[in-house]
Symmetry: C2
C-alpha cells in the first residue's frame, strides 16, 4: 500500500501549508492581510464575463485540443503587438501557465534529466519537475545583487550531459528581477553551445517598471527553435481563476509533440477560452493603467520595507513580488508565529517564507516574499504589522 516514491518526495506547498494557521487567526476575529500570494485585487475586465454570459449553446461540447481557433488568433495578435512573432500554429492553449510548464518539461526531459533554474524560483517548478523525475538544478542568485544572473562560467559549470533545458521566469517570481537583453543573449549562447532548450515563463511580461523595456526570450535571434514561451492570462488580466495559459514555440516538431499531450487530456474548458478571446483583444493600452497601479504599490512596499529596522530589499524591477531579508534566523517560524501568536490593532500578516523558493538547502532561511497585489491602505497596514511583529518576535515565548 506504499504510494509512489515520486509523490512521497513532493513537498507540501510552502505557501499553502500556512493556510490552516491563517484560518485559525480569522476564527479568532483577526483580519489577516494576505501579502503571501499573487492573487491581485485588480478587477477582471468585464469583457471576460460578458463574452461568457453571451455564449449561448445547447451543448457545452469539447473544444479543440490545441485551443479554440479564435483564441489562438487573438493570442497571436497580442504577441505581434508585443513585438513577438508567433503565428496561431505556434501556440497551444493550456490549463493555466501550470500545464504549459508541465508540458514543456515532459517534452524536453526524460526521467533522470536535469533542468537549470535560477533560484529563488516559483516553488511549483519543483512541483512539476519532481513527478516527472526531472531534477531542478539551481543557479543561485543573490538578494544583494538584485537577483541578476551570475557569470556565464558559473552557469556552465552546472551543466552535465543530463542537462536538457534552462527554465526561468522573467520578470521573476519571487525576485522581481527583469533580465537584460545581455543576460538573455548569454543564456542563448549557453543554450547553443550545450544544446539546451530555453523555457521562458513570461506571465508577468507587462509588469516592468522604471521605464525599462522588456525583452522576450522569443526575440533573441539564433535560438528560435530552442525557445518555449509559457504564458497565462492569470496575472496579465487578473483572471487567476480562469486557468487559461499557453505554450508557444517556433519549433514545429516540439509543438506537434506537445499536441499529443494536449490530445490526451482532450481540451481546455470552452467557456474560459470564449472569455479569454475578449481579454486578448483589449490591446496593450489596457496594461498602462494596471502597471501604474502596481508601480505605485511597489514603491510603497519597497520604501516601507527599508524603513523597518533590520529589513532589507533591493528595488524589484518587475512582476509584483519582492524578496525581503529579515533580521530573523528562521523566517518560516516567524511567519507561523505571526499568524498563530501575533496581532497588531486587530490584524496579522500572512507572508510566504522564502526558503521554499530555493532548491539549495539553507538558503533563504531569513527571507520572505511579499506580493504587492493589495490596495495601498492594506499594504501600509501589512507593513506596520511586519514592523511591530519584528519588534515583538525576539521576546516571544519559545
Amino acid at each position: 500500500m506504499e504510494l509512489s516514491k515520486r509523490i512521497q518526495a513532493m513537498q507540501e506547498s510552502p505557501i499553502r501549508k500556512l493556510v490552516p494557521l491563517a484560518e485559525q487567526a480569522k476564527k479568532k476575529g483577526l483580519s489577516v492581510i494576505h501579502m503571501n500570494i499573487g492573487q491581485p485585487d485588480v478587477k477582471t475586465p468585464k469583457a471576460f464575463k460578458q463574452a461568457i454570459n453571451a455564449f449561448d449553446v445547447d451543448v457545452i461540447a469539447y473544444s479543440f485540443s490545441q485551443g479554440e481557433p479564435a483564441l489562438l488568433m487573438a493570442i497571436a495578435d497580442y504577441y505581434q503587438k508585443s513585438g513577438i512573432a508567433f503565428a496561431p500554429e505556434d501556440i497551444l492553449v493550456t490549463n493555466g501557465g501550470s500545464e504549459a510548464l508541465i508540458f514543456a518539461i515532459y517534452a524536453t526531459c526524460d526521467a533522470g534529466d536535469e533542468i537549470l533554474i535560477p533560484e529563488p524560483f516559483y516553488t511549483n517548478y519543483n512541483g512539476f519537475s519532481k513527478p516527472a523525475n526531472v531534477q531542478a538544478v539551481p543557479i543561485t542568485t543573490k538578494s544583494e545583487e538584485a537577483f541578476c544572473l551570475p557569470k556565464k562560467e558559473e552557469i556552465e559549470s552546472l551543466i552535465t550531459e543530463r542537462t536538457k533545458a534552462i527554465l526561468f521566469s522573467n520578470p521573476g517570481n519571487p525576485t522581481g528581477a527583469v533580465y537584460t537583453q545581455e543576460e538573455l543573449m548569454m543564456l542563448a549562447d549557453i543554450a547553443k553551445k550545450h544544446d539546451l532548450y530555453l523555457i521562458a515563463d513570461e506571465v508577468y511580461r507587462e509588469f516592468v517598471y522604471d521605464g525599462l523595456s522588456f525583452t522576450s526570450m522569443a526575440s533573441i535571434p539564433g535560438v528560435e527553435d530552442r525557445v518555449v514561451i509559457v504564458d497565462s492570462i492569470s496575472k496579465r488580466f487578473s483572471a487567476c481563476g480562469a486557468r487559461i495559459g499557453s505554450l508557444a514555440s517556433k519549433n514545429q516538431v516540439l509543438i506537434a509533440s506537445v499536441l499529443k499531450l494536449c490530445q490526451a487530456r482532450l481540451c481546455v474548458p470552452t467557456l474560459e477560452q470564449v472569455g479569454a478571446i475578449e481579454l486578448y483583444k483589449l490591446g496593450l493600452d489596457y496594461f498602462q493603467e494596471v502597471k501604474e497601479e502596481y508601480d505605485w504599490r511597489r514603491n510603497i512596499v519597497y520604501e516601507g520595507v527599508n524603513q523597518i529596522a533590520g529589513a532589507m530589499c533591493k528595488k524589484p524591477r518587475g512582476a509584483f513580488y519582492v524578496v525581503v531579508d529579515l533580521p530573523v534566523e528562521d523566517a518560516d517560524d516567524f511567519a507561523r508565529w505571526m499568524l498563530a501568536d501575533f496581532s497588531y490593532e486587530g490584524a496579522t500578516l500572512m507572508v510566504a517564507p522564502a526558503a521554499g523558493f530555493y532548491a539549495t538547502k539553507g538558503l533563504g532561511a531569513n527571507q520572505i516574499r511579499l506580493a504587492y497585489v493589495l490596495e495601498e491602505d492594506q499594504l501600509r497596514r501589512g507593513l506596520k504589522v511586519l514592523e511591530e511583529a519584528l519588534k515583538a518576535y525576539p521576546a516571544r515565548k519559545a
Copy 2:
C-alpha cells in the same frame, strides 16, 4: 535538439489523427456523420450555464486546490444518493476525468512500474501512463465474450513485482461491458493478494441498460483503502467542454498526497465549478430520461450492425460505445478510405479504428468503435453508409 524519448514514444491520438481527412470530406461538401467520438448531442442541463451567468464577482480569483467546498459537498451528496459512501474530504476536483487519471497514476506508480488494464481500453490511458514512464500491461478481453474479464489465474499471471495497480473503466469505453459484482470481487481479491491499487474510471456509471444494476468498485468491502474512483461530469451531464472531473478515495494518505499535485497546478477553473454544483444537485431522476434515449439508440446500432453482412457485435450493456468486428483486414485503412474516397447520398462516416484501443500489437485490426451519441436518423444514416461502404470497399482502387 532531441525531444524527450517519452514524448517521442507517444502516439498521435488514433481518433484525432483522422480529423484532417474528415475536414477534407467536409470541404468537398460531404456530410460527415460522427460516430467516432463520445461527444453527446444531449443538451447540457440549463442549470449549468444559468449558475455561471448569475455568478457575479469583480475578480475571477483562484479557487481552492481541492475544489470549491460547495462542489465537494454536492459531489458527496450525489455519491450518497448513488449508494457510494464518500464524504467531501474524500474527494478532489480535477480538470476533467483526465487529470484524475493522471493523478491516480502518479500517486501509485513510479517510473518503470506497471499497471494492468483490460484491453481494449480508452486510448488515453496510454497517453497518461507513457509520459509517466509507466507501462500499461493489457489484460486481453474478447469481442466474442462481450469483453468480460478473463479468469483470475489469467490476470494473476500478468502480475510482476513492478505491478502497482489495476485500472479499468466500468462501464467500459470502448467495450460497453459492465462488470458484475463477482468480477469486481475477483479484482478486489487480486488487489489484496498482490498489494495493488484499484483505479476505477466510472464516468459512465449511470449508463447501464437491460435493468442491470451498477456496482461501484467503491462498494466492494475490504478494499476501501485501495480504491480510487475517477469521475467526470462530461458524459453524466453532457458537459464535455466543462472539464470538471474528480478523484475520490477513502485512503486519506492518498488523498493528502494527490492534494500536493493539485496544489502545484493551483486550482480548477472557478466558473465551471459553480455550474457543476447545480448539475450535481439535479438528482438521480435526471438520468432516467437520458438513459432511455441512449438505450433506444443502443438498440438501433446493435440491430443495425448485425444486419450488415459480415459485421458483428455483442450487445453492449453500458456506456454508449460498441466495438464492431468488420469483414476487413485493416479497419484503420477502411476508416481512412471512407473519409477520403467514399460517400453515399452525400454523406460519409467517421469511426474510430479499434486497434488504437489495444496494447497488444495486431489485436483489433478488423474492429472499429462506434459511439451512439447522435439522434436516431443520424445513426440510421451512419449505419447505411457503413453497409454501403463495406460493399464497395473490396472493389476499391488500391
